[in-house]
Subunit: 192 residues, 4 copies
């Protein structure tokens, strides 16, 4: 999650591309909002490393995606057309991620952070990427509610990802295992 | 938009109920997230004044609304079951309002504010209702992006509504009139 | 649910307007897709009788509603902007209705019927309104699945509504009562 | 799109698995509703052939996916949690596909077909898979509306896919090329 516009420093672009590359190298699937700017830079990084990239588009179809939202199509294995608009699609995007990473950004990114925080996600903040991201610590204090979200900060993409990986292994698979045990197992159950 | 939980002062409840009553008296339609807490207090106020109240529910149906989300059904003329969850339904809720008013709240309300601000809404902040609402001024500075949103602050429900009404008359109907002129008119156009 | 386009007979328009008027007179809330054609005719009827009418729009906002979808704004107490497109909005529309009535229509109406049937709704078919509606009996046979949906047919709007009312009173409030008993009651429960 | 339940013949399972395998071999991305039954059989086939598989889930998160919907998690590179319920998620599923293939099925599949037909998709019908699929020809006659959808029928998975590929190359990339030319290009355009 991060800037789709505004002024962005070349080093920030580089940092986010490195982040994407590391995600791809480690065999994780990258999910972005399929927008230009930092998210697209991460998509390019992940693709360079042979990763799978899925985009969750605000548009109803490819025409709207390209013409109305001026959004990229390159680097995506699949684009899901939600039609829910810029903020609407973020909800699905965040829900569908095991771990959510923030860099740069303004009001859209703030909304995404509030959603991820409210939905108790494992959150990574890529520091020194400017924008609203540098205020997230104080915003969490203002919110003053323990939602269960876990937030990590680091300015180094690899180190940030290593931390998030560790928490993910410790926290999330347990919940997933419980879900699989309570439910129908990895192949589902056919209805009568 | 505002607190569905946490500690809420009785005066804040009263203030929000007065706000709802004024909305109903003036003949406006109140749209809420059909949740308990401050939004429900506004619904009760609007209904007392004979207003129309529509709820935009996170649930897929009435069962989920009542059992999973422990949400109210009283006071609503219609409840729209979005199934999009707590934050997902807020997008539609905000989109469907001409004017959005905030009181109290925590991370959910912050997400709603970010959405309303990003979607360039006419926004009212009911002051002295605590929670995240009292930090919205500093958060706007952190966001540092002119989205076209217009934000008013007042601690008096009637005065706040009067201000919002004035802006609404000045700004919104013009955009609506343009939409009606470009488009199909108030009765729509039948497709071939 | 029904034709937003194609050739529509004046008697069909009249029948659907009568249906809307009866719905309004009886104090029910009419929910439509806020589109032109038969649904708008029902909205006009309900409004003439002083009813509350809510529209569930395919558009992201009023501009799109009027310009892109050439859809009506007159007669609606509130329009919910789902942004989910023509078929996407129908899901919410159908979910939010206690009873769903069909008249005329083509492929869109067929999709709506399949949804309502799959979601086990109480369904009314206004006969002699042409289109796909006249084939719904054979389509149910082809589907060959008991979903729990209850379907009534009548060519007279008042008689159809009377039948649906009777089933509604017998079947639905029971489920709603159970939901209210299991859940938080008509005013909801505030989260901690 | 197809049966998630009811009785399904072993040959139909085999046919759909072959279809999935061919999709994976040809390097296409398979998008399913991440449900059990025929769609999961296609996912297994595509995965065996090394393909990328994306699921569009009715659930809000993995817990609901597994526990409430008894749905599979194996074979999916990414699962998008729409939270829109069984029919709601189908809209996004269909919108996000370049080509939509039907096999077997009952009322849910009928709804999906109506949506795909209404949205002018390139549609393949895998014949001799029973259910509602065998009635789609007569249903198109009943609908009696040219939406622009193109429908092919074949009982052999490879032959069906070969036909759909040919149409796809002839029809779709042209529209996509036009979209890319009108819009921002494959890397999108950064907003100011």
């Amino acid at each position: 999650m991060g800037s789709a516009g505004g002024h962005i420093d070349p080093e920030v672009f580089q940092k986010v591309r490195d982040l994407g590359r590391t995600i791809g190298q480690k065999g994780y699937v990258l999910i972005t909002g399929a927008c230009p700017g930092l998210p697209h830079e991460a998509a390019k990084g992940a693709k360079e490393a042979g990763g799978v990239v899925v985009g969750v588009s605000p548009a109803l179809n490819m025409d709207e995606h390209v013409i109305k939202y001026l959004s990229p199509t390159r680097c995506y294995d699949a684009i899901i057309y939600t039609g829910s608009g810029l903020m609407g699609r973020e909800i699905e995007n965040i829900r569908s991620c095991d771990v959510v990473i923030f860099a740069g950004g303004r009001s859209g990114t703030l909304g995404e952070f509030a959603i991820a925080y409210d939905e108790a996600k494992v959150i990574g903040v890529l520091e020194s990427t400017g924008g609203i991201t540098q205020h997230l610590g104080s915003i969490i204090e203002m919110v003053n509610k323990d939602t269960g979200a876990i937030v990590f900060y680091d300015q180094d993409p690899e180190r940030l990802l290593a931390k998030l990986e560790e928490v993910y292994r410790a926290v999330i698979p347990q919940r997933h295992l419980e879900a699989l045990e309570e439910g129908g197992g990895p192949d589902g159950v056919i209805e009568p």
